[in-house]
């Protein structure tokens, strides 16, 4: 039992969570990935490293983020509903938790050129921000379509001093930005690839989940204070690659009474052919260095996902989520563009909080699950919606 729950946060020695994960990479990347693995393993037990990381999260990012009790949502849906306010982090999303952790690793490895992929631009902004802070060069790959639909974030990255390179291949979204970042990494082995979600080859999924685990660590303490128990009955988070969800679920995997609900974007609907609901539409496959659930056609070509939300528009999910969903530990729910837009508007008007389109998917899940009056529910509000105003108005 212990082993099984541990395996959600700790993959086996080749980086597998059950059948998912691993490092499916060309030999060209092997030295980079091996070095990263070694440095990460060392940092796990390096007190100095931990101290520095936690200090920056506190003084610079603004953690802990509040756990906000929304009376309006609680009234509307029943139960007691809390929002974990990751939108209040510096730069406006959870992505910075991971960017800080990895930039400290890069520093340890003596790297000064940082590359990143980005979908909604939140990870790109977080990376550009940490690069400015640490005085490092920053190159961000972003799909051409995402550049057009998330202009404010492109401008922020540029103002922060990052070079934004458009990915023009394939669907011109997150998947292709990731391909371009990996190719650049192959050609520039002296750079550090700061991946933005719990995807990619081992050790990235484990590492990003670890750096995001601060979310559920804080949730436990905050719930204890507010409710007298560290445990909610349900945790809800949206899943693009799955980093905010991994962080929100992390310290609850071994608490079987806490239901974990991963919300995917079904775009125009599950059967529309315009969707990004990977765990429902996907099958086991290998993309970007790991085995996971993957949206693909009958000959194993990766299909181009769609969601109104640039951060959820990805054909795979983190291998730990693929594993956890297959095992039945995590339940997946899907939410359409329209449902997310409605949820964003509702929260804005009821609580004066404008959520990111990605986070709005998590909020919309409240409409889709059964809620009892004794439920204590935490919705991870992964980011703020400033970047999405064009969609909202």
């Amino acid at each position: 039992m212990l082993l099984k729950t541990e395996s959600y946060t700790k993959p086996d020695d080749l980086g597998f969570y059950g059948e998912f994960g691993g490092a499916f990479i060309p030999e060209l990347l092997r030295p980079n990935v091996e070095e990263l693995d070694q440095v990460f393993m060392k940092c796990l037990s390096d007190e100095q490293f931990q101290k520095e990381y936690i200090q920056i999260l506190k003084d610079y990012v603004g953690r802990p983020t509040p756990l906000y009790h929304s009376e309006k949502l609680s009234e509307k849906y029943g139960g007691t509903i809390y929002l974990k306010r990751e939108d209040l982090n510096h730069t406006g999303a959870h992505k910075i938790n991971n960017a800080i952790g990895q930039i400290l690793l890069a520093k340890k490895m003596g790297r000064t050129k940082i590359i990143a992929e980005t979908g909604a631009g939140q990870h790109g902004v977080a990376t550009a921000t940490t690069c400015a802070l640490m005085n490092m060069e920053c190159i961000v790959f972003m799909g051409e379509i995402d550049i057009a639909r998330q202009t404010p974030n492109v401008k922020r990255m540029q103002f922060l001093g990052a070079t934004v390179i458009p990915a023009t291949s394939g669907s011109k979204t997150l998947k292709d930005a990731t391909n371009e970042a990996i190719r650049f990494w192959i050609n520039n082995p002296d750079s550090y690839y700061l991946i933005g979600s719990v995807v990619g080859p081992h050790p990235y999924p484990e590492m990003v989940a670890y750096f995001q685990s601060v979310i559920s660590q804080e949730m436990r303490e905050q719930l204890q204070q507010k409710t007298g128990s560290q445990l909610p009955t349900k945790v809800i988070a949206c899943v693009g690659g799955g980093s905010n969800a991994a962080g929100a679920f992390y310290h609850y995997y071994r608490e079987p009474e806490v239901k974990l609900i991963a919300v995917e974007a079904s775009g125009l609907g599950l059967d529309s052919g315009k969707s990004a609901a990977t765990s429902i539409l996907g099958s086991p496959g290998v993309l970007h260095g790991s085995m996971t659930l993957l949206m693909q056609d009958e000959s194993g070509q990766v299909t181009e996902p769609y969601s109104i939300s640039a951060g959820l528009d990805y054909p795979g999910i983190g291998p730990l989520h693929a594993y956890s969903i297959n095992e039945g530990r995590t339940q997946s729910v899907s939410v359409t563009d329209q449902q997310a837009l409605a949820a964003a508007k509702a929260l804005t008007r009821s609580d004066g909080i404008i959520p990111a389109l990605e986070s709005a998917h998590a909020l919309a899940a409240l409409e889709k699950i059964t809620i009892e009056s004794n439920d204590v529910i935490v919705v991870n509000l992964s980011g703020r919606g400033d970047k999405d105003m064009e969609h909202y108005l």
Partner: protein, 234 residues
């Protein structure tokens, strides 16, 4: 070359041409939507191959019917193979006398643990990539798997189709690795463009693998001319 490129049924003619020019074997690439280790030329060929409707089922059919007798090595990213089914893939290879495959994103460790027994039971042997940054220990592991196929020695740390000048230093390093591989054949690939490169590579190893440059020649419809130059036929 990439299957399905430049047209859906150009494969056999291409194979016959290569055979007639005295090429020893052909690496046929299975197109994939997300070719991570490839530069623009192979990316584009893969994209066109997919758009033309190429997939593994069709490729095996075409290979079964082929007129050319030139030995073939299949190259493909792991996902289409996984999707086709590992056992189905191995059986299909066996039926058309393919014994060597290159699966660039399948690592030695994962192969050994999860797939090796099934491959070897069918007499199919992957050949693994080794680079100038690969440790001696890993080279030994690769050789252990590849004795019945060959080691694919990557000339430079880059995606395919990059620049390569085969400097004296680099050639020394490549020669060291070739020596480490003992009796296992070593073929060098990535960035090989012309007869000069081929001669250098032949002086170091057992063969040269040419990809992007040949695809470019196909794109420009000058593959005959290109092959003559490559092979030093005046």
């Amino acid at each position: 070359m990439t299957a399905g490129y430049p047209t859906i049924d150009s494969l056999d003619d291409q194979l016959c041409l290569l055979e007639s020019k005295g090429i020893d074997f052909v690496e046929v690439g299975i197109p994939f939507s997300d070719p991570l280790a490839d530069g623009p030329t192979i990316q584009e060929a893969s994209k066109i191959g997919i758009e033309n409707g190429m997939n593994l089922t069709l490729l095996f059919e075409q290979l079964k019917r082929r007129k050319s007798k030139i030995p073939i090595i299949l190259m493909g990213y792991f996902n289409p193979v996984l999707n086709f089914g590992i056992d189905a893939f191995l059986n299909a290879c066996g039926e058309i006398d393919i014994t060597s495959v290159i699966l660039p994103d399948l690592s030695i460790e994962i192969y050994n643990r999860n797939y090796r027994a099934r491959f070897e039971a069918k007499g199919i042997f992957p050949s693994f990539l080794v680079t100038t940054s690969t440790s001696q220990e890993r080279i030994k592991k690769a050789v252990d798997i590849c004795t019945n196929s060959f080691i694919y020695l990557v000339s430079s740390n880059s995606t395919t189709g990059g620049e390569n000048n085969f400097s004296a230093d680099q050639c020394d390093r490549l020669r060291e690795i070739t020596t480490l591989c003992g009796d296992t054949p070593v073929f060098i690939g990535f960035g090989i463009k012309n007869n000069d490169d081929v001669q250098k590579v032949h002086s170091i190893s057992d063969g040269a693998i040419i990809g992007s440059s040949y695809l470019k020649a196909i794109e420009n419809r000058e593959e005959r001319h290109y092959l003559d130059e490559l092979l030093g036929v005046k």
